[in-house]
């Protein structure tokens, strides 16, 4: 969304200003504001971060520091479907590595990347707390458990 100017930029920033309007201008609201803004925009582009810094009376470097610290925040566009593959202990010992290999192969991307058509983003997480179902992946809010590598293509097909 770079290089927007004037009215177009103001229009683009309208949602983040609405979010900021619901909070007092205090540092403690930075993380909730970032969470809501990311929900709205799908990621956190520089223009939005600048607006948040202004709105909460913080420096941009402070905002940037928080955004880069937490793994939940993203500064690049993300896929329409987010695949989180659990790499926790239980999943690890029950073969999460093989599930990861198949996902990488099917989507032709590495962990942490997004497909060119923005259909999928693949990321690994430490544990989603569904260890009884290991190995597990989450696609958006759906959990798929007790996976075998052969099931992956049919699961992906549901989200295409």
């Amino acid at each position: 969304m770079a290089h927007l100017k004037g009215e177009k930029l103001a229009k683009y920033l309208k949602p983040v200003n609405e979010i900021l309007g619901r909070y007092e201008s205090k540092e403690r609201y930075l993380i909730p504001v970032l969470q809501e803004a990311q929900e709205e925009y799908g990621y956190l582009p520089e223009e939005v971060l600048t607006e948040i810094a202004l709105g909460l009376n913080l420096s941009l470097s402070q905002v940037y520091g928080v955004v880069t610290f937490y793994s939940q925040f993203h500064q690049e566009p993300r896929g329409n479907n987010i695949i989180r593959i659990c790499m926790g202990t239980a999943c690890h010992v029950r073969g999460a590595g093989k599930i990861m290999d198949v996902l990488k192969e099917e989507l032709e991307i590495d962990s942490g990347e997004t497909t060119d058509d923005l259909a999928f983003t693949l990321e690994s997480v430490a544990c989603i707390g569904a260890c009884g179902l290991a190995p597990v992946i989450m696609v958006n809010d759906d959990t798929h458990g007790r996976l075998i590598p052969e099931e992956i293509p049919s699961i992906l097909a549901k989200y295409k």
């Binding site: 928080v66 544990c127 569904a130 809010d141 458990g145």
Partner: protein, 600 residues
């Protein structure tokens, strides 16, 4: 209130585990079937929290009989309604089968998995509807808060807690009563209570289940803590990865506010209490209390040196008491039943029960709550039903990334805070991952270090640099590039990191490595000296497969299963494996009818 009396209650577990196995569709189908049979006025469906037996989900329990059905799917609904609910006949094929004996067990209480547990903090999980405050009150909920606020002085509560012997369930094991005393003793116009629900240990999910299954229990525990230390405001810091827990907690807070159990002048005692939820943003180190408070303040979640402790200067510089979810879950029981009832359970140094998340290569995975002092063997073999596929037990990992691995010799060890520390591991939040002969201990150590290294916040040098160097060494060992002296180097680095890191993450990060070196040194030596992985897990060290030409009958089954087409030959001739193409996956070995394939 005019309530319908139902002749049967069907409890459907809708914890995260069962929902991902299809519990929501199951419930919808059941509702439709009951309506179609005109039975919705006689049979009530109750959505409950987690029963702990996630492996067997979706789980359904039918009362008054208490029959326990597992792995129920939509197709089974008609049969359950026709047979069980209409004709009163149990659907035997859906009953639980004990993995060791194959015996079918109809009643919930008789299954080994449940029989040997003692549930205090989990007592409501799976038995009441977590979204109904009335059900919580009906089983005695908020009685403890009522007693504390109206009949007890704050100091009496703290004395009761001290006497009960409750220690922090988040891992450290610090006496809870003493922690509350410190916060109470600090004079201030404003104090806070925080519930640490940033459950980040891979392999642990008790906090999630407690929040999903019994959110009011946590609210009640926090309320008592706030009254005791003199706070009027509290935060629950929950991982953003737990959306269901957050939804249920939000509902519980809203209901409690409506009932006047949160807000101003609760129970006419003059005590005010406000509760907020704070969603985490994905940083393991935020489980450390000072980092967590920085995160609530809107900052990078980095730890601060202690002292000052949070009880003196915590959230926004105010005295703050911070406890783990499971710790709060025990508080109402102690206030209601008294310190002695609680301290009579468990061992001398560790009172009460502990919830463990039993996972890995085990038959019955799930959440188990046992008295402190129960042995590892009882948990793994009696409750857990032994190892998956009857493989040989090799090690159990406790305490997550801060803990260590214990071998077979320790199976008779009674579990409590101190015995685990003495054995070189720790209680941690209660993760318990069972490993069999196919798990490589070097790989497991590398796995945990990879985790702590990437979660290290980078503030202090020993943790930031040290974990990175240790990981490099472990990577080269598992890749077959290990050098002489690597083991000693790991030990030296580990000791330094433990003694010089700023917070608990760094202080405990080397534990998985040091404990596996202590108990499985030979495995490290095999990797380094012989480029061999005894468990057959490290891909780079695996040797490729070969077909014994004299035994091959030329059936071609192996060539069909090979994922990389490394096997070629003529049917009825002799097949051979191209060792440059073979990835040592082992797919061919079991399909050979004459056992002609082996690792070369």
């Amino acid at each position: 209130m005019n309530e319908t009396i139902y002749r049967s209650h069907v409890l459907v577990c809708t914890g995260t585990g069962c929902v991902s196995s299809g519990a929501k569709d199951l419930k919808t189908t059941l509702e439709k079937e009951l309506t179609a049979k005109d039975m919705s006025g006689e049979v009530k469906i109750v959505e409950t929290g987690c029963h702990g037996f996630c492996e067997k989900g979706p789980i359904m329990i039918i009362y008054p009989e208490g029959v326990f059905y597992c792995e129920v799917n939509e197709k089974d609904v008609k049969e359950i309604v026709d047979e069980h609910l209409l004709k009163g006949r149990t659907v035997e094929r859906l009953l639980f089968k004990e993995p060791m004996t194959e015996e079918q067990i109809p009643s919930y209480q008789d299954i080994d998995f449940y029989k040997k547990q003692q549930r205090i903090s989990l007592k409501n999980c799976g038995h009441i509807d977590p979204e109904s405050i009335d059900e919580y009150i009906a089983v005695g909920g908020y009685e403890a808060a009522g007693k504390a606020l109206t009949l007890m002085e704050p100091q009496e509560i703290i004395d009761e807690l001290k006497e009960s012997g409750l220690r922090g369930r988040g891992g450290g094991g610090f006496p809870t009563g003493l922690k509350w005393q410190f916060a109470r003793n600090t004079e201030s116009d404003k104090k806070y209570v925080i519930c640490n629900a940033d459950e980040g240990d891979p392999g642990a999910f008790m906090d999630r289940s407690l929040l999903e299954g019994d959110p009011h229990g946590i609210i009640e525990g926090m309320m008592i803590a706030a009254y005791a230390i003199g706070a009027d405001e509290a935060y629950v810091y929950v991982r953003a990865e737990y959306p269901l827990a957050i939804t249920r907690l939000e509902k519980a807070i809203q209901d409690a506010e409506e009932y006047g159990l949160l807000g101003e002048n609760i129970f006419d005692s003059g005590f005010n209490f406000k509760l907020h939820i704070k969603e985490g943003a994905g940083a393991f180190v935020c489980g450390e209390e000072t980092a967590l408070m920085n995160s609530i303040e809107g900052k990078r979640g980095m730890p601060k040196p202690r002292p000052p402790y949070p009880s003196v200067s915590g959230l926004w510089g105010k005295p703050t008491n911070i406890n783990n979810v499971e710790t709060f879950a025990n508080v109402p029981y102690i206030i209601k039943e008294g310190a002695e009832a609680f301290s009579s359970i468990g061992t001398e140094s560790s009172a009460g029960t502990k919830v463990f998340a039993l996972t890995g290569k085990i038959n019955n995975t799930g959440l188990v709550e046992v008295p402190m002092g129960t042995t590892l063997r009882e948990v793994i073999f009696e409750i857990g039903g032994g190892l998956d596929k009857n493989k040989k037990f090799k090690a159990v990992q406790t305490g997550g990334p801060s803990g260590g691995c214990l071998p077979e010799e320790y199976l008779n060890l009674p579990i409590d805070y101190d015995s685990l520390l003495d054995a070189g591991t720790m209680m941690g939040s209660g993760g318990m991952v069972v490993m069999d002969e196919d798990s490589c201990m070097v790989d497991v150590a590398r796995f945990f270090l990879n985790f702590t290294q990437s979660e290290s916040c980078g503030k202090c040098t020993p943790c930031r640099e040290g974990t990175k160097r240790m990981l490099e060494i472990l990577n080269r060992i598992t890749e077959g590039e290990g050098r002489e002296g690597d083991i000693e180097l790991l030990e030296e680095l580990g000791d330094h990191i433990k003694s010089t890191s700023l917070c608990g993450l760094g202080k405990s990060a080397p534990n998985p490595v040091l404990s596996t070196i202590t108990h499985f040194r030979k495995e490290y030596e095999a990797h380094i000296n012989h480029q061999n992985c005894p468990a057959g897990a490290c891909q780079d060290l695996l040797s490729t497969y070969v077909i014994a030409a004299e035994d091959c009958i030329g059936c071609g089954k192996c060539a069909k299963v090979c994922p990389v087409d490394a096997i070629s030959g003529e049917i009825k001739g002799v097949f051979a494996i191209d060792e440059d193409v073979c990835i040592a996956c082992g797919a061919c070995e079991p399909v050979c009818p004459v056992d002609a394939i082996s690792q070369g």
